[in-house]
């Protein structure tokens, strides 16, 4: 095992990939990361506090844990230091439950649900329930309160949904919900025991209609039109369709001037209201926010902040237009494609580490 000083922390070395391809897990004294579609399951461990990582012997063996502590001591991870530890290695399979838990947390936030690409959404209540149970199973790694040890926080929002799921009669679901309600009782979370309750079924609306926002970009005569993609890291999950080119924009005459009409395809139950839209096209800009349908009508101004005229709009070359949804940042479309491939592969043939929510999504695909 080799430890390197990375951004002021001791680490086994950073992963080659970055978000959104990385699944992370915060345990006591360390942050663990994996590349989601890396079949080798190799982990990167960054120690936030070596003393708190009192579980280290479980994955390195006692002599390995002792060796790491002895080698690092109170040494500060400054500059480009490297510490080689001969004969110290992560025991095969010892991190597997943690990797699966990290993957579960990743699925909650990055699963590319898409109507357009036919990638079914995952049931949020079932996924969270399974993550909660997995967290308890690896409680040895959560000696201190961490961001990821909040089991109650995972279950509490689904109290009604879990009750109604259990009444559907799928034995796999019933078993999971039963285990989860026992857990809930022990940790002081009140699950709704009323099995006749109206299902909220957040996150599994397979009948969700195509967004009205995309229609908005179809009407009227357009000076120009085009499509672009949503950067996933720029927006919260559970709102937008995860396919490419789901942002349609048009430039239209508006009185003496011109406006742009933007529509984004939605999937899921989250609301797009208030999310920023920015259009830029060599000197011309427009900013606005999305409405409940994922649409926005945006006035356009030139470099002098003056509204542009209709004739200027007709004269303008709109080919370089970019439309940004949410925060402005760079994200590679290849990463998104890799994630959609990963999701499709998991739906086509449920993996050994598949979550029940994935298995049900795969079954609903027929």
């Amino acid at each position: 095992m080799k430890l390197v000083a990375d951004s002021g922390l001791w680490s086994t070395g950073p992963l080659a990939e970055s978000t959104p391809l990385v699944a992370v897990l915060e345990v006591s004294g360390a942050v663990l990361s994996w590349t989601v579609d890396d079949p080798s399951g190799a982990a990167s461990i960054a120690f936030t506090d070596l003393h708190e990582a009192d579980w280290l012997w479980r994955i390195l063996g006692e002599s390995g844990h002792t060796a790491v502590a002895a080698a690092l001591g109170d040494r500060s991870p400054d500059e480009a230091q490297t510490v080689e530890l001969a004969g110290v290695d992560v025991h095969a399979g010892s991190l597997e439950p943690l990797r699966r838990l990290a993957l579960g947390h990743w699925l909650r936030r990055w699963w590319p649900a898409s109507n357009r690409d036919a990638i079914a959404a995952l049931d949020a209540a079932l996924l969270d329930a399974e993550i909660a149970l997995l967290t308890v199973a690896v409680q040895d790694f959560f000696t201190e309160d961490t961001f990821d040890s909040d089991v109650a926080g995972l279950i509490r929002p689904h109290s009604i949904a879990l009750g109604s799921l259990a009444s559907e009669g799928d034995p796999r679901v019933t078993d999971l919900v039963r285990a989860c309600s026992e857990l809930a009782e022990d940790i002081g979370v009140e699950l709704d025991a009323d099995f006749g309750a109206v299902p909220s079924r957040a996150g599994r609306r397979d009948d969700y209609a195509l967004a009205a926002g995309s229609d908005a970009a179809q009407r009227g005569a357009a000076i120009a039109r085009g499509a672009s993609s949503v950067n996933w890291a720029a927006v919260p999950p559970g709102i937008f369709d995860a396919a490419e080119n789901t942002v349609e924009w048009r430039i239209e005459p508006a009185g003496p001037g011109a406006k742009s009409v933007v529509g984004v395809e939605l999937t899921g139950v989250g609301s797009p209201v208030g999310i920023a839209v920015q259009l830029g096209s060599s000197g011309i800009v427009g900013t606005g926010v999305l409405d409940a349908d994922g649409g926005a009508t945006i006035p356009l101004v030139d470099a002098q902040h003056q509204p542009i005229t209709e004739s200027a709009a007709w004269d303008h070359d709109w080919r370089s237009t970019t439309v940004t949804i949410g925060v402005g940042l760079d994200e590679s479309p290849q990463s998104r494609e890799r994630i959609r491939d990963f999701a499709r592969a998991r739906l086509n043939r449920p993996a050994a580490d598949a979550f029940l929510a994935e298995i049900l999504a795969a079954e609903s695909d027929y």
């Binding site: 922390l9 009192d54 040895d140 929002p157 208030g274 925060v327």
Partner: protein
Amino acid sequence: MATTLAVTQPRRAVIDRAWRAIGPGVEVLSSHDGSPLTRTVKRIIDPLVLRLRSNTQFSAPFVAPGVAEAMHEVIVGNGPELRAAAAWFEILKRERRRLRITTGNAQELYFPVCFELAVTKGAPAQQDPAAAEAVLRDIHADRDRTAIEVLNQHLSDRHVVTRLSDQLGRSWRDVRAGTEITGPFMAGLTTVLGPADSHTSSVARQRVWNALIADAAPYNLGAAARSEASELPWSIVELGLSSVEPQPPPPIVTGADRDRPLNRAVADRVRGTLRRALDRDELPDIPMLCAEEVDRACAPWGLLAEDKQATLIAGIEIAACLAPLADAVVTRYQLAGHIQARLRKEAYVLHARRYLADGGPIHPRQQQVIDDLAAFERPYLSRLWARLHGRDVWQEPCDDVDDVRGLLDGVARSVSLDHRQRIKSMLELQVAG
């Protein structure tokens, strides 16, 4: 050195092995693979079986073979009590279900009680739901509220309040800044908050801290905060310790500002003590607590003991270097650098989980919490002050430099966790709504 270290064992591994040697009968206190639950270790083994407070040799993260053997013997020797505690826990859990109690974490609340029952009563009788019910009712009774009601009653007496106000006036006037310079104290902090990579340097670090907690500087700075606040190296308003400069004397019953530690009313401070006193056996004497709190509220930084005052100054210096969402921060102290590196990593977890975008909000609704994170020093100092206040009341020392550094680090961790959970819930609101 390598040979002596090679034979030490991680303490959790020692505990794990001893636990397995107990054999069957402790399953409810164990995880599915047979190791003790983390809560079993924290709530039963450490405090009640190994009794770390008096047996400090058992608390080291790595222990020598002799110590490991002793720990093993103590744990295995307590096997009968632990089995009885497990049996009690099963009964309490069953009773909890029957009584439909859903508040609190069953393990957290019942584990210590179960061990006490095992020691005092042995294994539970086969059918004794009445005893179990009595235990549960006692645990879930709101002792906190009882004590606070006594306090409210005490302070509803006009004469009591007048007497406390007079005392406050006198105590407040008694505190005056001395003429000693603060330079040496601040220079010493660089050592205390700096690295120590050898035995010699950690001994030196402890020696410097011993000198600093005897230094007049923290007292003088605190006294200056109420008269010549402009002479301080920082602004107590910007630090969030007080809403105005100079610091005014605190009120007795109602505070204009409960958020600022130095402006908090005496009654609110005592309430804080009572809330944190849940684990204590005896209910404190309320009139005495109030009188003492008046003196404490008048002391520099609202803390009586010099080591607490010195720790707060160290915390103020650390806080200035912490900014979880900022890329580059000048950290004047090695400890601050380490805490900042950790905060950055924790902020990265939010980014990797799509709760933050590029260090900023991913949804406009998060803006307020993000702004709070940018002003990290305020919640940091507020929480540090509360911890120090607790230690001041219970006379728990801050004289061990490693313990103080651990406190300064731990407060950052808890504020960061709190903030991150708020950032997360601001986003999840949207899904629920």
